[in-house]
């Protein structure tokens, strides 16, 4: 393949521009030609093996390319090759692989899961997805909730109890929490005094005389749910008013004592009703167990 040989075979297109400009008509190397033929053959083989040509309302399906997979409700489906079936088959395979671990969790008790590094790691990562799918819409992706409607699951306050059993019960059956409004029952001044007393319970009061006036009002109106010691009752899901956590009104964010009191006054007047839906019909027992474990871990449980 010396220069001399190449020059012998090079042709021009036979046309000259501007007197002496000519275009070489270089031959293609034969390996290139054969590679081109190979792509043509590849295309024909592809047409036979895979769905290709539209024919009227349908299309050629290809031969010998069936995909069989199991759907979530246990049906066996066989289809010609297509990417959707390929995905469904991948999902079915992944479900089968996951099922091995899920089976282990199904049999395990909460303390079994907690004691076993591997089981708890799996429960944690699977629950993360379940939580994002089912719970995050209200409780937020991180579980921090929204002050007012949706409780924060990361802190150590457990309105309805923080043991594994209590958390499971809450997820399974749901809860309705109701803080009644006192607008008609108590006068505006009484509500103001009561609010000052509630603030003083967690050491945030600013007016001791007002709080003193509020104390008997608390005993007669609030203690039935929140308890005489104002520490709340799991049975009713009533909040502990003596700690730093506020789940309905954002007292810590209020800058002045007046603003703090006004926030509580508002709640005392109108009340607040919250609902945690029941999940027993929507999630399997094992899913509820895994979520329970996750929520317990989020806040540390009790």
């Amino acid at each position: 393949m010396s220069k001399d040989k190449t020059q012998q075979t090079v042709q021009t297109t036979g046309h000259a521009w501007d007197g002496d400009l000519q275009e070489f008509n270089n031959p293609l190397p034969s390996w290139w030609l054969w590679a081109f033929y190979a792509t043509v053959i590849f295309a024909i083989v592809y047409w036979v093996l895979y769905p290709t040509w539209p024919v009227g309302n349908t299309y050629t399906k290809g031969v010998g390319n069936d995909i069989t997979y199991t759907t979530t409700d246990g049906k066996e489906v066989t289809s010609h090759w297509n990417t959707r079936s390929l995905l469904l088959k991948d999902l079915a395979d992944a479900r089968a692989e996951q099922a091995k671990y899920v089976e282990q969790l199904k049999a395990a008790s909460y303390s079994d899961i907690a004691k076993d590094e591997e089981k708890s790691a799996f429960a944690y990562s699977m629950a993360k997805v379940l939580f994002a799918d089912n719970c995050a819409a209200c409780h937020q992706a991180g579980g921090n909730g929204v002050i007012g409607p949706y409780p924060n699951l990361l802190d150590d306050a457990w309105l309805w109890g923080g043991t594994f059993e209590k958390i499971e019960e809450t997820i399974r059956n749901g809860h309705v929490g109701n803080m009644p409004g006192f607008k008609g029952q108590l006068s505006a001044r009484e509500i103001d005094n009561l609010a000052e007393y509630v603030l003083s319970l967690s050491g945030q009061g600013s007016d001791a005389t007002k709080a003193q006036k509020g104390k008997p009002l608390f005993s007669s109106n609030c203690a039935v749910c929140h308890g005489q010691d104002a520490k709340g009752q799991i049975l009713m899901g009533s909040a502990n008013l003596t700690d730093s956590i506020w789940t309905i009104v954002n007292v810590p964010a209020a800058a002045t004592p007046e603003a703090k009191r006004a926030a509580i006054v508002n709640l005392l007047k109108t009340g607040k009703s919250r609902q945690m839906p029941a999940w027993k019909d929507r999630l399997s027992d094992t899913e509820i167990k895994i979520l329970t474990f996750y929520v317990h871990e989020l806040g540390g449980g009790q």
Partner: protein, 471 residues
């Protein structure tokens, strides 16, 4: 001549040659083949994992290279290695030309072996040309099919050996021959078998001429001091050109007297060339610097008693009697880049810790207030045990006064050999203890039941919301 739409390949029938460079090339070939074909079978003593010296375990996401275990997160080493290879190629090319092509490239090595088989079965150059141009006969069919069968055997062994690097060689080999190996193993073997057969048997020098990107861009690394294989034009041609040794032109002295070149135009250098060029036409892009023409010319020069070196390793400057400077700025640049990259890679490999600690602060939300007024931050901590035995660790923290560390159900962690584990840690701190909303502190992971390993430290941040800070 009629215009041709497609140019067909001009077949090349290289003639055998003996000499210094042929011996060197054969030695490199034997060494390279020895390593390539036998390495997967070499066993290696390891505490855990495979006992194969070199294994690229894709499923387990580990590469075993003797005593080094490369994990998925170390894969950037591969990038470093590739950069080193590229720089080494540039450096060597700048200094000594296409050394890679001539002596080490697998295309050259495998083509060499295929040509050797060809020569064993069909004879030397003249016999092969005769066979190719002869009518089809029993002898021709036999010789060509034996050649092809032997080529196929080498191709299959090549493909199979490559596949054996990716699985436990003895097991995989048995699986392969009993039709139980995974599809990927067969596909890889089949693919490499066919490419070996086609590239080394059929395409040959066309791979270098048309397909290889390096062959196309290596020219930019050349300068007038780069070693090339060159025909000494001055000596070979003198004023009156090359001539066959006829009467009166046999002795070198008489040739010099008549200003006739030392080249006796025997054509041996052209006949041995595996890419079919004539080195006497000067430097050509097809030349892979295999140096076989040097051996050919030296053989002839020896036999007629002329000094060697009519075709030799030289450079543009040397050929024109100019001063050659090997160490120019370009080559020094390549060398320093090469040195820096090698040093960085070696440093990275040597200083890799057997224990890896990764701390990620959970940012959604950054903090939460607890019932007693303290602030809690959460951290996802990944512990990676790269040692060959199961290890127990304890996690502690430094730099946050009176903070509480809660690692849930476990206070000590058992991480199996070559495995990793995630720990969810909570850190609680009274906001009165801090003055800044971002406080740096350190997680310390201490291996227990061992004195050799040092503890690993990783700094992180503790966040306290502004409203909880004392003004």
């Amino acid at each position: 001549m009629e215009p041709q739409a497609y140019q067909s390949r001009v077949p090349i029938y290289p003639r055998a040659v003996k000499g210094r460079f042929r011996t060197l090339k054969t030695a490199i070939l034997v060494l390279a083949y020895g390593v390539y074909f036998l390495l997967p079978w070499l066993r290696w003593d390891r505490a855990t994992g495979t006992d194969q010296a070199v294994l690229f375990d894709l499923a387990g996401r580990r590469f075993y290279v003797f005593d080094l275990v490369v994990y998925a997160q170390d894969i950037f080493w591969l990038a470093g290695l590739l950069v080193i290879f590229a720089l080494l190629l540039f450096f060597v090319t700048g200094l000594a030309g296409r050394v890679w092509c001539g002596y080490f490239c697998f295309q050259t090595l495998w083509t060499d072996v295929f040509m050797f088989i060809e020569r064993m079965v069909q004879g030397n150059r003249n016999a092969r040309i005769k066979l190719a141009s002869s009518e089809w006969s029993g002898n021709k069919v036999l010789r060509i099919s034996v050649t092809w069968l032997l080529w196929l055997l080498v191709s299959v062994l090549t493909g199979l050996s490559f596949t054996l690097y990716w699985g436990n060689a003895p097991d995989l080999f048995i699986q392969m021959i009993t039709a139980q190996a995974p599809f990927a193993a067969y596909a890889t073997t089949l693919f490499l078998t066919s490419t070996t057969f086609v590239m080394a048997g059929m395409a040959r020098e066309q791979v270098c001429t048309y397909m290889c990107p390096y062959a196309r861009f290596q020219g930019v690394m050349f300068d007038k001091d780069t070693l090339i294989i060159a025909y000494d034009d001055e000596r070979g041609e003198r004023q009156n050109g090359r001539q066959k040794p006829s009467k009166g032109l046999l002795e070198r002295d008489s040739r010099i007297e008549q200003q006739v070149g030392d080249c006796i135009d025997c054509g041996y250098c052209v006949q041995v060339c595996p890419v079919g060029i004539d080195i006497r036409n000067g430097m050509q892009y097809q030349c892979i610097s295999c140096a076989l023409c040097i051996d050919a010319c030296d053989t002839i020069m020896d036999s007629i008693g002329y000094p060697r070196g009519l075709v030799r390793y030289s450079s543009e400057h040397a050929l024109h009697h100019e001063r050659a400077t090997r160490l120019n700025l370009k080559n020094l640049g390549y060398a320093s880049a090469l040195f820096i990259t090698i040093a960085a890679l070696v440093w990275s490999v040597v200083t890799r810790s057997d224990l890896e600690l990764n701390v990620r602060q959970i940012r959604q939300p950054l903090s939460v207030q607890l019932s007693d007024g303290r602030i809690q931050n959460r951290y996802e901590i990944k512990v990676n045990n790269k040692t060959s035995r199961s290890m127990r660790y304890r996690l502690t923290m430094e730099g946050l006064n009176q903070a509480e560390l809660d690692t849930g159900h476990f206070t000590e962690f058992e991480v199996p050999s070559e495995r990793s584990m995630k720990i969810h840690a909570k850190v609680r701190l009274d906001p009165k203890q801090v003055t800044s909303s971002r406080q740096e502190f350190i997680f310390v992971l201490t291996p227990l039941d061992t004195k050799e390993s040092q503890s690993v430290r990783q700094s992180s941040m503790f966040y306290t919301p502004g409203e909880n800070l004392k003004p």
